[in-house]
Amino acid sequence: MNLEKVIFAFFSILALTLNYGFFIGELDDPSHHNVYELFAALIVSLIATIMKFGDRAHIGALLLATSLVADLQLIAAAMVWGYVVYVVEAPLEPSVMSSIVSLSGGALLANLTSVILLVVETVTFRR
């Protein structure tokens, strides 16, 4: 058992599950989407990215790319949220909420790709 692989898989899958947890629910209903969940998804995704830093294998580079995409999407979602609430100082309209959640949906797709790549790597390794 490779401890590095276990920890990385843990963070990748945790990023996916947290992301999914935030994403699920009515698209434009703020009460279905918890800000703590978004924060946790972002932090876990960042950590998963850093763990792939300096990996020179081809699949490692792909994993780095997908998790960078996820980070970017989640940061964009958080910034939209922060901008509307604290800069514009407007209430969370359904239209704003839906754009935040759809951004996190993009991140979900990227995280899903990460996990699929991880599975592919593991399967080919076991051959």
Binding site: Y36, I43, I50, F53, G54, G82, V85, Y86
Partner: protein
């Protein structure tokens, strides 16, 4: 070699994860702990303000408690946050500094910047392996002539010396082992513009390894090697090393030449001297019995060569067993008077101090001259930096291995035909050399001549080439004529013409040139430019051949024809 960025990133993994975790925990803590707003209502910090607060707190800027004064619980959490953030930052910055100062990391950086510089070289270049006395001289001379080279040297200090040297052309250096094939490839061995590899590491085995690696990986690249023993020279020759240079052998053969044909010696000296140095005058060594101190590689070569000239030597050697000295050798270092007296210094005609220790060599000569002031003194100078002392000692003949090697290689690079020239002069006699010396001395005033080559090709001599295609005849004297005055010959001597692999020594001035001829000249430097002008310019060539300054434009040609 690794990628620098991935190397840094890999080392930064843990510090960055710790930093992000600390920030995340601090932010979440701040959003969870209940506070009180300015009206006294319960209030909780939101994510935006928590991130803002932790950001300025973590970087120890500290704007104060915002947006409302904190409660006790919030202050307690903030205290924890301050220490956690400072410690994580220190750890992260410390790791970055460690990575940057790491020897391995610096080596990777130096390696990559060297590789980048080699890749950017678009013009022909040479790889010089080793940066000792000979290489330093050679690199100086090459860069003076804007011939590019790169240096690979194991010793980091010597590469640092190269970096601070004031060279007219930039010479990249790398401190790596040149016997490693990867290093040679990084230095550009496989690049199409790599002209040659010059192995002067000071170690026969390393030179051998470099030669064989270069010949295997890039068979077309010229390989020039220094060798200090006959065994390794034979070994190098066996796999096609282009030139093998043994400074002791070169010196010994020239020294022997001084006895029987001083003019021939001068020819050799001048052809390989650095341009611009004063014409060397030399004292002819007397024939008789000589005392030779040191029977190492140098002593053996000298003894062997001067024995052919009928010069007898008495040997002094400190370690007779190791060097395999003959039985009549006197044991001792030669620095003491009694050893020298034992070798009958008083009725010897000359002394050669040829040990590998410069201080001992000087001491031998000074003691010997004290015992017999009329002696001819010859010394081997091992280190270039001792030159001032050797000059001050007023020695008749100084042998500097570094200078001999550097000049020889420079000759091979600047004028490859010199090799053919030297091969042919070996069969000539002293009278022939006398004539040549007086001819050369007649054209070069006070300084040693420059040697250069000209190919009768479309690229190097378009005017001559075109004339030959149009079946006009061009004589050798035509291109050696002053383009401003067709009655005057330029101060140069054509030494050799190589045509279809046959070399003609000292060609006649009436010789008709042919396409593909390679000509070796020697003479004053300014004649180089004038010959280049003549062979490039149709008008100049026509003027020289006919004495008529032909008009260049179509209109003028038509008018003169009409008349």
């Amino acid at each position: 070699m690794h990628n620098v960025i991935s190397l840094v990133l890999r080392r930064m993994r843990l510090p960055l994860i710790i930093l992000i975790s600390t920030y995340a925990i601090s932010v979440v803590g701040l959003t969870l702990i209940p506070g009180i707003d300015d009206q006294g209502n319960p209030w909780r910090m939101d994510f935006f303000h928590a991130i803002y607060f932790v950001s300025f707190l973590g970087s120890t800027i500290g704007f104060g408690e915002i947006p409302y004064p904190f409660t006790g619980a919030q202050r307690m959490w903030t205290t924890f946050t301050i220490y956690a953030a400072v410690v994580s930052w220190l750890y992260a910055i410390g790791t970055i500094l460690t990575v940057i100062q790491d020897q391995g990391f610096r080596r990777v950086l130096a390696f990559q910047s060297f590789a980048r510089k080699v890749r950017r070289l678009q013009e022909p270049f040479y790889i010089v392996c080793g940066y000792g006395d000979a290489s330093r001289l050679l690199v100086h001379e090459l860069s003076e002539r804007r011939i590019h080279c790169v240096v690979v040297e194991k010793d980091r200090e010597k590469i640092e010396e190269l970096a601070v040297e004031d060279l007219p052309d930039y010479v990249p250096g790398l401190s790596e082992d040149a016997t490693n094939s990867d290093t040679l490839i990084t230095a550009g061995l496989n690049r199409p513009n790599c002209r040659g590899v010059i192995a002067l590491t000071g170690d026969d085995h390393s030179n051998l390894t470099i030669a064989i690696t270069s010949k295997l990986l890039a068979p077309d690249v010229q390989v020039i090697c220094q060798s200090d023993s006959k065994d390794s020279a034979a070994n190098m020759a066996s796999f096609g090393t282009d030139h093998i240079i043994d400074p002791f052998e070169i010196f010994a053969s020239r020294f022997a030449m001084m006895f029987h044909s001083p003019s021939m010696y001068l020819v050799y000296e001048w052809m390989t001297a650095v341009y611009g140095s004063p014409l060397s005058e030399f004292k002819r060594p007397p024939t008789g019995t000589w005392v030779l101190c040191g029977f190492g590689r140098f002593g053996k070569a000298v003894r062997e060569y001067i024995a052919i000239e009928g010069v007898k030597t008495r040997l002094i050697e400190a370690d007779t067993e190791l060097t395999g000295a003959p039985l009549d050798t006197i044991e001792g270092r030669g620095t003491e008077a009694n050893t020298l007296l034992e070798a009958d210094i008083q009725d010897a005609v000359g002394i050669i101090a040829g040990t590998d220790n410069d201080a001992n060599n000087l001491s031998v000569l000074i003691t010997a001259r004290y015992l017999n002031p009329g002696l001819f003194t010859a010394a081997r100078q091992n280190q270039q930096k001792k030159t001032p002392i050797f000059k001050a000692a007023d020695i008749d003949l100084i042998m500097q291995p570094g200078t001999i090697v550097a000049q020889y290689i420079l000759g091979l690079i600047l004028a490859p035909l010199l090799g053919d020239f030297f091969r042919l002069t070996r069969d000539q006699n002293e009278e022939w050399a006398n004539v040549l010396v007086s001819r050369i001395a007649g054209v070069v005033a006070e300084i040693t001549p420059e040697t250069w080559e000209l190919d009768i090709s479309r690229l190097q001599a378009p005017a001559v080439f075109d004339s030959l295609i149009r079946r006009n005849r061009v004589q050798l004297k035509d291109i050696c004529t002053n383009p401003k005055n067709s009655a005057e010959l330029l101060p140069c001597v054509p030494l050799l013409i190589k045509r279809d692999k046959v070399a003609m020594l000292l060609p006649d001035m009436e010789e008709f040139l042919q396409r593909g001829d390679q000509i070796l000249f020697c003479g004053r430097q300014e004649s180089t430019y004038q010959i280049r002008y003549v062979v490039n310019d149709q008008q100049a060539l026509h003027y020289i051949q006919t004495g008529i300054d032909r008009p260049g434009g179509i209109l003028w040609r038509w008018i003169t024809k009409a008349q």
